[in-house]
């Protein structure tokens, strides 16, 4: 290894200069009282001695500086580097031969290719020129082009030889530490994102955002191969799909699908790395723009988080699957997702995030058109109660389908429950309703009574047919009660969580529920269910499982028929019989028949002039009013009295006979919505 040549200072003519320079290098020559030595005062030294001292002094200086482990440099007042040591050359590749190095120094990162790095070193240089001392860590370029990070300290000093101000600095190569810290914080941030994510898509989009931030990338995207040339794309730029990507990038990504995993490949404007995704092969692409070189160090820095990302995605996928399984199982044990018309249910498990608890409701369509109704409540709550509930619900459903009646069903369920740990003391209300007549047969195994709210607001408790909870006395005969749900009355079945409160009699809760039903008499039954849940909720929310089932008699009429005038008579017949079940006064019936007849005739005549399609009639009775809806799949024609005078008359009749008529034309069809109060 060759000794770099130091920037040699001319030995100063004045002895003080010589000594001062020496003192600067750590010597102590000036402190010696030369006059008392045989050499005498330095002023009287011969030239030869002075030269000898100067040479020794300079060598001492050089040896001292070169012995430093750290790179050493001296800048003049203009910022030009005028002196360096061996370590400087070792680190940056720039030797003493080309001294001085004037700013902009050749090791500065390129202002165009890497503006951010350039900005940082320029700021550090400004600091070096202005501040009396300081330190900084900056990116620099080695003579051979590779990126380094150095940590420097500097001090302003006075050169006694020249009388000028100089800056003396040292630095060391901290590239490895810099990247280690960067990698650690990047991995920590990525890890945090991945663990916080509650689903696979969330994990992926969070990780991409994190990568974008630590790489200062313009965009980061992930393409998941589907094996059919239409990969699905997730990106930090929302709304970007595969076909929106430039063709060149698509080719690059497609190529990368076949590359070895976790091995970054860099291109002019970014880098791609292939990872394994739970659903296939994924390529993560970092768009670094034109000005950010992807260095050798970067390859390692990308492959590590890429591996981390792949692991995180696999874990998120497992969590997704577990959750989906859990949800599917919970929903399967909870009960039917579709209900017969006229019914509404609400279900509120006490133990979040479980979607089920020990309560349940069920409706079972029996072969003869009747409907089995069940509301039950297992002891306890949470997962354990839910598993018991699931078994009892299924068994009760199967037993009801045997059509032996509610009491027999519960007696069979007694035996079934006796064999299931945790099923003892479950309470159940089991009923069979004939939706045509409102006739309800029921039996209760220790369950709170059903509440029947008549249309005048009076309430009746369904407190017949009562016996002990399930499995308490297996084999004992259970009684049955019957009642008829009158027209426009509402039946409410619930579990005790809805009506039972500490330090309050159950009757108070039942009264409250009855009042809520009566106050909601103008609501459709589903809205009524929401209203009751809100109104009866304790201040801090329900602290027990709650199941609520409502039925308002009769269920709405909902029929679909071809757009033909021959259908008008059968539709009238069906509507007339439904109106009779609603127990409406004859003139209200007549008004509704005429108004609906006109709306249907309109749908047939105008709505379907071009393309015949079905017409739908829905009639829903609330307590004091009826809502009638006729929907067609055609385009409503504004009546032209000059062409068809009777159509104009039809409209006039509808408006005169109903309290409110709304006609909503739409591209898919026209809806006529009519509403009328039921005269008492």
């Amino acid at each position: 290894m060759t000794r770099p040549r130091e920037a040699r200072r001319e030995p100063a003519g004045a002895v003080t200069g010589v000594f001062a320079a020496e003192a600067e290098a750590g010597g102590d020559l000036a402190a010696v009282d030369w006059a008392s030595t045989p050499l005498g005062p330095p002023g009287q030294w011969p030239q030869s001695l002075r030269t000898a001292v100067s040479i020794l002094q300079a060598r001492w200086h050089t040896a001292l500086v070169d012995s430093l482990q750290e790179a050493f440099f001296v800048c003049d007042e203009d910022g030009a580097v005028v002196e360096i040591n061996t370590a400087f050359t070792d680190i940056l590749g720039y030797g003493p031969e080309e001294l001085p190095y004037r700013p902009v120094h050749p090791w500065w990162p390129d202002a165009v290719k890497d503006p951010e790095a350039h900005r940082r070193i320029a700021a550090a240089f400004a600091q070096l020129m202005e501040d009396p001392k300081g330190s900084y860590t900056v990116p620099v370029s080695h003579r051979d082009g590779h990126r380094l990070w150095v940590s420097a300290s500097f001090n302003h000093a006075h050169d006694p030889g020249t009388g000028r101000q100089v800056t003396v600095g040292t630095f060391r190569d901290v590239t490895a530490e810099h990247y280690a810290v960067w990698r650690k914080s990047a991995q920590a941030a990525l890890g945090l994102r991945l663990t916080q994510a509650t689903s696979l898509p969330e994990a992926l989009s969070g990780a991409l955002a994190e990568l974008r931030s630590v790489w200062r990338a313009e965009t980061v995207l992930a393409a998941l191969s589907d094996g059919a040339g239409r990969p699905s794309v997730t990106t930090t730029e929302p709304g970007l799909g595969w076909t929106d990507l430039p063709a060149g990038l698509r080719d690059r990504l497609t190529d990368a699908f076949g590359r070895p995993l976790l091995t970054p490949v860099d291109h002019a404007t970014g880098a791609a790395v292939t990872i394994s995704h739970p659903e296939g092969t994924m390529v993560v692409w970092l768009d670094l723009g034109d000005h950010r070189p992807f260095t050798g160090e970067d390859h390692l820095l990308l492959s590590l988080p890429a591996g981390q990302l792949a692991q995180g995605l696999a874990r998120a996928h497992q969590i997704d699957q577990l959750r989906e399984t859990a949800l599917a199982l919970q929903r399967a044990i909870l009960g039917p997702s579709s209900l017969p018309d006229g019914f509404a249910v609400r279900y509120e498990p006490a133990t979040r995030p479980l979607e089920v608890g020990g309560d349940w409701y069920d409706t079972v369509a029996l072969p003869d058109g009747r409907t089995g109704i069940v509301v039950g409540d297992c002891v306890g709550r949470g997962l354990k109660a839910a598993t018991v509930m699931g078994q009892l619900r299924s068994a009760c459903r199967a037993l009801l389908l045997q059509d032996v009646g509610p009491a027999q069903t519960l007696m069979a369920l007694d035996h079934f429950a006796a064999g299931i740990p945790g099923a003892l003391c479950t309470t159940v209300f089991c009923g069979v309703l004939d939706p045509r007549t409102g006739r309800l047969t029921y039996s209760s195994a220790g369950h709170p009574p059903g509440i029947l709210t008549h249309r005048d607001g009076t309430t009746v408790l369904l407190d017949e047919g009562r016996s002990v909870p399930l499995a308490v006395r297996p084999g004992r005969t259970r009684p049955e009660g019957t009642c008829t749900v009158p027209a426009r009355a509402t039946l409410l079945l619930c579990t005790d969580g809805l009506v039972e409160r500490r330090r309050r009699p159950l009757t108070a809760g039942i009264d409250q529920a009855g009042a809520a039903v009566h106050d909601g008499r103008g609501l459709a039954v589903d809205e009524l269910a929401s209203r009751i849940m809100t109104r009866l909720a304790p201040a801090g929310g329900y602290d027990d499982d709650v199941a609520l089932l409502l039925y308002r008699h009769p269920a709405p009429l909902d029929m679909e028929f071809p757009a033909e005038s021959a259908q008008l008579a059968p539709v009238r017949t069906a509507l007339r019989s439904w109106l009779a079940r609603c127990e409406m006064p004859p003139h209200t019936v007549q008004n509704i028949l005429v108004a609906v007849g006109e709306a249907c005739a309109n749908a047939i005549e105008h709505g379907h002039r071009d393309i015949p399609g079905p017409v739908r009639l829905r009639a829903e009775a609330r307590v004091d009013d009826v809502r009638l809806t006729v929907t067609d799949t055609g385009r409503w024609k504004t009546p032209r009295p000059d062409r068809s005078p009777h159509r104009g008359r039809g409209m006039a009749l509808m408006r005169a006979l109903m309290q409110d008529v709304t006609i909503v034309p739409g591209t898919a069809g026209t809806t006529v919505d009519m509403y009328t109060r039921i005269a008492r």
Binding site: S565, A566, L568, A569, R572, T573, P586, H587, Q590, N591, L593, V594, G597, E598, A601, I604, E605, P645, H646, R647, R649, G650, A652, L653, A656, L657
Partner: protein
């Protein structure tokens, strides 16, 4: 359930013709009702006592012959006959509740 529309022609006092209608009248029945009225001449008494549904299509037929028709109906049809204005053009009997 009401059966199909029946039309029974007959004679009324003072040389008038009588047409007794029974059943329900909607747009699908116009093809039967309209010719039955059109084939008569002179004063006509249309007896709707046994009709329990009359829609705007049926009303149109009656409107077309309002100048020579007298109607006998029941209170059930009163809203339809009144709202449509037919009661203002022709004589309608039997709308009052008894």
């Amino acid at each position: 359930m009401t059966g199909p529309l029946t039309l029974t022609p007959g004679h009324a006092p003072a040389g008038a013709t009588r047409l007794t209608v029974a059943g329900e009248i909607d747009m699908s029945d116009i093809g039967t009702l309209a010719p039955a009225i059109e084939t008569t001449q002179g004063p006509l008494i249309v007896d709707l006592t046994a009709v329990d549904h009359l829609d705007s299509a049926g009303l149109s037929v009656l409107f077309r012959h309002a100048d020579r028709v007298e109607i006998v109906a029941t209170p059930l049809l009163a809203p339809v006959l009144t709202i449509s204005g037919l009661t203002r053009l022709t004589t309608v009997h039997g709308l009052e509740e008894t």
